[in-house]
């Protein structure tokens, strides 16, 4: 009996040779290394973005998904890491990315037309390896289409990225990866921030152009300027362990703590958009 077991065991090991190192050995769950997402509030909430794992960020339109993506890309490219963006809806804006600090030369942008292309492109990039961050943006694809993506695709992605230094970030409107994601973050839109020109004398409720009186610029459209937006983040799933040995310092306490929600604000860098290209690059 024991001899049969041994023979069977050696046969299995032989069959899996080269693919699985030790199929019968218990595999300890490795401690997840996390890195900064570029937004301190999100880092405090989640403990950072885990490497070698799937991070799912979901929420409705204008909920700050793109801002979080750009921040993460900015942080990774600043660390000289190559990043890839698989753009399911071809909605990426290089101008706002550059304003967010993304080093575009280190970003591979794949403009897809549908879900199938996006998934196949993700497969190819994961096989290619050695990217610091691979972002799969399905935000503009209808939720029911993304829902039809079989679960084994997400599982395959998770397995492909495992034991690699790559962060696989998935952006959607709804959560689909479920248990395949090591970190799930739900985002909701907050209040937009508007700045106003100073009011000269008149009360705020006064009409914009009172006859003979001072002008209330705040009632005029050009008296307002979009300053930024805010978003609320909520951790829906996290496998970032307590006592994480990752090198991102701020994350450990946050991951172990009870806080499950956080709010972050974004800013519009209008000065940047008005600069000529040479000044933008300086």
């Amino acid at each position: 009996m024991a001899a049969n077991f041994a023979a069977l065991r050696s046969q299995v090991e032989l069959a899996l040779a080269g693919r699985v190192v030790a199929p019968f050995n218990y595999r300890d769950r490795q401690e997840v290394v996390t890195v900064s997402s570029g937004i301190s509030e999100i880092d405090l909430l989640t403990g950072g973005l885990p490497r070698g794992a799937l991070t799912e960020i979901f929420g409705p339109s204008c909920s700050g998904r793109t801002s979080l993506l750009l921040s993460a890309l900015s942080a990774r490219t600043a660390q000289q890491e190559a990043c890839a963006l698989i753009d399911g809806g071809d909605a990426f804006d290089p101008h706002s990315a550059e304003a967010a600090g993304v080093e575009l030369r280190k970003l591979l942008w794949v403009r897809c037309r549908n879900v199938e292309q996006t998934l196949r492109a993700t497969d190819l990039l994961l096989q290619g390896g050695s990217f610091g961050l691979i972002a799969v943006d399905l935000s503009d694809i209808a939720p029911q289409l993304v829902r039809h993506v079989p679960l084994d695709s997400w599982f395959r992605f998770r397995r492909a990225v495992e034991d690699t230094p790559t962060i696989l970030m998935l952006l959607e409107q709804e959560s689909n990866a479920k248990s395949c994601a090591s970190l799930g973050l739900r985002l909701e839109a907050g209040v937009a921030g508007w700045s106003r020109m100073p009011v000269e004398g008149a009360a705020e409720s006064a009409p914009g152009c009172a006859a003979g009186g001072p002008v209330n610029y705040s009632r005029l459209p050009w008296g307002w300027l979009l300053e930024g937006t805010s978003a609320r983040g909520e951790v829906s799933r996290s496998r970032v362990q307590k006592g994480n040995a990752g090198y991102f310092r701020g994350g450990f306490a946050a991951a172990a703590g009870a806080a499950r929600e956080g709010i972050f604000r974004t800013r519009m860098d209008w000065d940047f958009f008005s600069l000529p290209i040479a000044a933008k690059r300086k």
């Binding site: 550059e98 993304v102 575009l104 794949v110 549908n114 292309q117 190819l124 694809i141 459209p221």
Partner: protein, 608 residues
């Protein structure tokens, strides 16, 4: 000639099969060269192809393209050992060995290294080392294997060689044979003065060569800038799959030549001659030639023999046979004004090339880093060809490589891992096949204020450079762990491509209601108009009034949606059906603009 064919066909080379080469000297197809095994099998020079087939040898058609490539490979072999190389003949090179002793040791070791490297290039060579250039040439042609001739013993070594090895003219050879002079020793023993009286200066030169006393300087060859390999296919190939084998073989040869010169390829150029075009042009050529010909068929043979002059045959029997043939044909050509015919034939070949240039298919595979891995190059080339296949059947393939210095990198201890350039290039090529070449790359902002303008560059991250030029890398401070300190993030924007047509209702000069994607929205807050314009000196000048709008979507508009949808992009529903749009677009911040050029409203994007 035979070496050129064997180099391209590994099976023949490895099994040491008897091979005879035939060439068309209309109306016959005759044997023009063969290897030793074929001579032993009874093959004779000038034998008809049908007769040769009865001897049970492999018959191959002579390929001048392969001979040219084999000659180039031979030169590469020379340059891989020494920077001073002479291009002596089609089958012979001379290399200066000065200074090589410190690298390889004795001269015999150097010669062995030559033979080893030649084998890597799929060439079988005979190597001779001598202090005298001409002695080295004749010894290499006359003796098999490796021959090292000590200084002062040149005459003794050459004495046993037949006089034909010295390549005398047909008349001189005939005279020498009449005299009974058959070896170099006999020729060297003749008195110079009498020989000069009878054979002129050629006799003196031959006598010096036979004694190993003729001296001259090395004539250096210039290294070629593009390494090329060619192959003519017996049958036209239409599918790319069978072509991959041929391309692989050519790439192997090119990479071996690159390796011999310690170089890599910066770009791979492939050119296909397409079948239909080629046949038509051949027809034209034949018609033209039949109307303008100057001489008889013998004249054409003389033109071909000029190329045979530099024959790549080795071995005494082959040399003898070739020499007889050459003497025979030269005699005939003289009577038929061969020079005029040769010139005319060259003109025709030039015209064919010009016409073929329009019918050829060319592809350049530019590589981000110099590469020399033939398998990787083949994969990249196949992906390129699959994306843009040739329009006709292929009859000839020319594959070239632009040589460059190999990539040398020094990885830093604290520099993060970056994708391997070769692997990355393959991944990008596969992605390009999937999404299209225009849809993959690294975006770069262009030097203009026109909204949304950018260009796509080839993605090649320079990871070993110092900190990048990006704003984050300069402005953000590190938190001490190498991570940038988090700061207030920039608002992201999502662009609608192509732009969305919208209908906007203005109230007191500001947008109050907006209709797009079949949805009705109420403007809660508006900021604008931000007037921008540019390129007024061009035809595509632009002028826009931009608004940032906070919109609350209340529901679908019954009357407006149809007209709005007419202007909407065709693929809009593929991205987000109307029901989903309603669900997701409850409220949001949008960038909307009025295009002064077409007097319409559009939604540029959404702040997210």
């Amino acid at each position: 000639m035979v070496q050129a064919v064997l180099r391209a066909e590994g099976e023949l080379r490895d099994r040491e099969k008897a091979v005879a080469l035939v060439d068309e000297t209309a109306p016959l197809i005759n044997v023009v060269a063969a290897n030793d095994a074929a001579w032993r099998a009874g093959i004779q020079l000038g034998m008809a192809q049908t007769q040769a087939q009865l001897c049970g040898v492999e018959i191959r058609r002579r390929s001048r393209a392969q001979e040219k490539a084999a000659h180039a490979a031979l030169l590469d072999l020379g340059w891989s050992m020494s920077p001073r190389v002479e291009e002596h003949a089609q089958d012979t090179i001379l290399a200066d060995l000065a200074g090589l002793n410190s690298l390889f040791g004795a001269e015999e070791n150097i010669a062995r290294e030559f033979a080893r490297r030649a084998a890597e290039l799929h060439l079988r060579v005979q190597v001779a080392v001598s202090t005298n250039l001409e002695v080295a040439v004749h010894a290499a042609r006359g003796f098999a294997g490796i021959t090292v001739i000590p200084e002062g013993e040149e005459a003794r070594y050459l004495s046993g060689l037949p006089a034909q090895t010295l390549a005398p003219s047909a008349e001189a050879l005939e005279t020498l044979e009449r005299w009974g002079i058959r070896t170099c020793a006999a020729l060297g023993a003749l008195p110079v003065l009498e020989l000069s009286e009878r054979l002129g200066q050629e006799g003196v030169r031959l006598q010096e060569l036979a004694r190993g006393a003729h001296t001259r300087a090395l004539v250096l060859a210039e290294p070629v800038e593009i390494l090329e390999e060619e192959m003519e296919l017996d049958d036209a190939v239409e599918d790319l799959e069978p072509l991959a084998f041929v391309l692989g073989r050519l790439l192997d040869q090119v990479c071996a030549r690159l390796a011999a010169r310690a170089l890599s390829a910066a770009a791979i150029r492939v050119r296909f001659d397409l079948g239909d075009a080629f046949e038509k042009e051949e027809q034209v050529l034949n018609e033209q030639f039949s109307t303008k010909r100057f001489g008889e068929k013998t004249g054409i043979r003389a033109a071909g023999v000029n190329a045979v002059d530099g024959n790549g045959q080795s071995g005494t029997s082959a040399a003898k046979a070739e020499l007889k043939m050459r003497a025979n044909v030269v005699a005939k050509a003289t009577t038929h004004k061969d020079s005029r015919v040769t010139t005319q034939a060259q003109d025709f070949s030039a015209s064919v090339n010009c016409k073929d240039a329009e019918k050829t298919y060319e592809k350049v595979l530019n590589l981000p880093v110099p590469m020399r891995d033939s398998k990787m190059l083949l994969k990249l080339l196949r992906l390129q060809l699959q994306a843009d296949p040739p329009s006709g059947a292929i009859v000839k393939i020319t594959l070239g490589a632009d040589p460059a210095r190999p990539r040398s990198t020094q990885h830093g201890l604290f520099v993060p891992n970056s994708p391997d350039p070769e692997k990355l290039e393959l991944t990008v090529a596969r992605l390009a096949k999937l999404v299209g070449n225009a849809n993959i790359g690294s975006p770069e902002l262009t030097d203009t204020h026109r909204p949304g303008e950018f260009r796509m560059n080839r993605f090649f991250p320079q990871m070993n450079e110092t900190r990048g030029r990006g704003r984050a890398s300069k402005k953000s401070a590190s938190d001490g762990n190498g991570e940038p300190a988090a700061r207030r993030p920039a608002t992201g924007c999502r662009i609608f491509r192509p732009r969305l047509a919208a209908r906007v209702e203005l109230r007191e000069g500001r947008p109050a209601k907006i209709f797009f994607r079949g949805l009705y929205g109420r403007v809660v807050t508006a900021s604008g108009p931000w007037r921008i314009s540019g390129d007024w000196w061009r035809e595509d000048a632009w002028q826009q009034e931009e608004w940032d709008l906070q919109i609350a979507f209340d529901g679908e508009s019954a009357g407006v949606s149809a007209s709005v949808l007419m202007n909407a992009p065709a693929n809009m529903h593929a991205i987000a059906p109307v029901q989903d749009v309603k669900a997701q677009m409850r409220a949001g911040l949008y960038c909307v603009y009025y295009d002064g050029a077409c007097r319409s409203w559009f939604v540029r994007g959404m702040y997210d």
